[in-house]
Amino acid sequence: MTSLDGGGRAARRAAAIFLAPGLLLITITFLLPAAASFLLSLTDFDIYAVASPADARVVWLRNYATLAQAPLFWIALRNTLYFVLVGGPISVVVSLGVAVLLDSELVRWRGLFRTIYFAPVVTTLVAVAVVWKYLYDPRFGLLNAGLHALGLPPVDWLGSAVWAMPSIILMTVWKGFGYNMIIFMAGLQAVSPDLYDAARVDGAGAWQRFWHVTLPTLAPTFLFVSITTMIGFLQLFSEPYIMTQGGPLHATLSVVLYMFNQGFESWHIGQGAAVAFVLFGLTLIGALIQLRLRPERTEGGA
């Protein structure tokens, strides 16, 4: 009983007591509600049912059928995939590029640059979304002033259906590139200097060394970064909520914003839960595809 390895009743009871607060909280406030979301999506739960849940009726897949015929849902889905498939890779490539630059042995004040690049990551998303809304102002914004100084025509950033999503992507890259940069920098530390020297002896140039030595070693890091980035990008909400309210012409309406509008604004809760479940499905499918695509020699994750 005094040994950790005993696995006796006392150890089991102690383990249960230590696990209970955390696991109960996660189960009650997260895992069970997430599962309940699926059941909810099979009902016509609405504003009246919030007062008396017993009034909700089971409608089976009708919410999903309604979604399939809702043009706004497809617009939200298309916009979100645009954001994930265009914004995600841009963000990851920028992070990797900056990490490689900072990893160069020629860099002085590495810590200072790292801190500066990371600063936008810790800022409050709502606050910087408000700031960028003014930076994007077509008449008085700093961005168009910059374009003017370069002799370029002004852009109606958030006001045009074509530019609104690229504007949100630009802001997101600014806000987030420092995070993955840190992860890539840690990954780059694992690249053996001997490999670089061997490649150099073989006459490989800087680009070839990056392509044949750095990138293969970074493969596990790359997989981790691309999965977590995709999961995060699928959850786009605050930026359009603050900057565009999903407009103009629904060009920045995201899946989560659509879920929020359906569930918490119109109180079509069953419908909103169906949207939430679609989000879960997208996350799972995206993660599985990336795990499937990973290179052969990487180690399995946890």
């Binding site: 406030t29 020629l106 801190t115 606050a127 700031v131």
Partner: protein, 301 residues
Amino acid sequence: MTAAGVVNPPVELRAARPARPALGRARGLAVGWRTVLLHVVLVAIAGFAVAPLLWMVSASLMPSGAATTYPPPLIPHPLTWVHYHELFSRLDVARELRNSAVIAALITASSLLCNSMAGYAFAKFQFPGRDRLFRLVLLGLFIPPQVAMLPLFILLRQLHLVNSYAGVVLPSMATVFGIFLMRQYVLGIPDELVDAARVDGAGEFRIYWSVILPLCAPVLVTLAVFVFMSSWNDFMWPLIVLTDSAKYTLPVGLANLSGEHVKDTELMMAAAVVTLLPVLLLFISLQRFYIRGITMGGVKG
């Protein structure tokens, strides 16, 4: 190619990567064009990173209407604190600051306790199904938090916790990431220390409190900084669960304010500064701990 690119540093120096800054000096003071070019690029990226934040601070100190003149001014002239006065006197920012601080502090304290207890149990206790249970918990990382929000809202409404601090705090008290971070760290603590305390007759809670927690001090700081920042910056859930403006946190209040005062650019910038300055200062003073949390989660995961 010039000297800086061609001359290979000695292998033993390269192996000791933390010592790299010394290489520049070892090579003499010749700074190649590559070094110059690299630093031009790095400074340009730094400008991109800080320009929006600098403009925010600058515009918050401009007189009303000055930021919306053409060409857009970069420096406040004359400089004024009037918008900060307005935020704290006429508007509700002081109350929102207090709400944010109380909620973030409650979440931080309770999550340190819940996550460290669970992380310790997963790392140091033997019980059947332990690793399977841990993997099951980790699967939670693939569930977007928004999926749980509608049922959670209905549950909290039944419990009369909508529009209360508790409604914001409860779902953040324990997190999959927090448990994972704690477990990874506690795994590195030798079993002998725990066994020795047990042989000395210490109870299980005593071992956790007096042996494990003190050894975990660095990772507890990391977790605290992480949790405090994410709860301070959190927006969607507080927006949903706090229905009365008297309970609003800073981000929710700011979103509300930005709808009402769209034309008051300078006032909005002052509100943005008040909202993000506390976490920015916290990061700058504790960044070592924060960055270690990212790499622990990222590389070992």
